[in-house]
Symmetry: C2
Subunit: 229 residues, 2 copies
């Protein structure tokens, strides 16, 4: 279901809200709406991007492949977030791949429109800057977590993060379902270790599972674990 950016709610969550009517019109006229199926690749590490992707619905993982064939998920991007901004601004090839972890709807916005607006509308530039500053802070936090927390703590944190950011259904299962491998790649561990910890958490009553679905069963206990008790 396509529509005009001017009326798009998603825009309120990202820097595009700092655009004026004219600028928004240009974006709307040049944007390309696209559906992306779960598992499909939006772009791959090393590619040059001709624009950015504004996420209207669904979730994408941004990850980087290493020499030994492992994938580290650096960030999950969802409704309202803009993917590829960093790359377009720095005028480089992407350092990350973007793959849909659920069915997605995105709008592709050509880079010219973005950079023109950046160069002429300081409000927009500052707004983008704020978002990037936020991303940078989050990245710093991830670095610290990676080096100072155990795999168990990071797993616990991942469940709490998903609950907080994507919510849960009526039955108490997380709305965003990730494969065990994806969990492992978020947390930075081996898939087997990840599965083992899921089993352990389940046995201890911290989480509940049903097939691929996972739900937080004892938020407090998970929180305690994260904090080192």
């Amino acid at each position: 279901m396509e529509s005009r950016c001017e009326n798009c709610i998603v825009r309120q969550f990202n820097a595009l809200r700092a655009m004026n009517k004219e600028e928004l019109k240009k974006v709307s006229d040049s944007k390309v709406y696209r559906k992306i199926k779960k598992g499909e690749t939006i772009f791959e590490e090393g590619e040059k991007l001709d624009g950015v992707f504004c996420v209207r619905d669904g979730v994408s993982k941004l990850s980087k492949l290493s020499a030994n064939g492992k994938d580290q998920i650096v960030k999950l991007a969802s409704k309202g977030e803009v993917i590829g901004q960093r790359t377009v601004i720095a005028e480089e090839s992407t350092n990350l791949s973007a793959v849909a972890v659920s069915d997605m709807e995105v709008c592709f916005i050509p880079k010219e429109v973005i950079s023109n607006t950046l160069n002429t509308n300081p409000n927009f530039a500052v707004e983008v800057l704020r978002h990037m500053a936020h991303d940078l802070k989050e990245a710093d936090d991830v670095i610290v977590n990676m080096s100072q927390k155990t795999v168990k703590q990071r797993m616990a944190e991942a469940f709490l993060y998903l609950k907080k950011n994507y919510g849960e259904d009526e039955a108490g299962f997380l709305n965003l379902t990730l494969s065990r491998e994806d969990y492992a790649n978020v947390v930075g561990t081996a898939t087997e270790s990840c599965i083992r910890i899921i089993s352990e958490f389940k046995k201890k009553g911290f989480i509940k599972t049903s097939g691929k679905q996972i739900g937080v069963a004892d938020e407090r206990k998970l929180q305690d674990l994260v904090e080192g008790f």
Copy 2:
């Protein structure tokens, strides 16, 4: 030795080069020059910053303390870099502490001057954005390294990084001398493990040491190690 920003070479390395004469004059008139001794703290995690620090000389570590009392160094900032930008832009308290790892000279620039310029000069905003985009990419790389490389590989990388970015003296020792503890905190490991690896690298002829000083002895071998051979 104080001077005018207009004539400051350091400015060429950071976003301040996108300022026009008037703006630069304002910065120069409001800036406060300050010497900082090795080991001295510039600001601490959680503080509110009234401005940014432009590094004229020396190196600062930006780190975050964790619950268990360990410090993770997220970034080393040196000549030309601006510290505290992220915080000032996001209008939050800092998520990191800044401590000098060598004697430093910095210029404090009040945040009003920065934000006024951001709001009126798109060139400056875009330039800041570019620098932030670069920092974000580096942070992503660190995340991936943390999760996918061994401590040994990260140590090897640290030596190569220091050689590349700070150079070495006539005797072949790194210009920037870090304590073993700082190395451990950059790499994200225990100080004892760090020391052990230094001993091992020395024994194998990858590096050489003399007191606290460390020099790269076999760049190729270190590089091979980083790449997993």
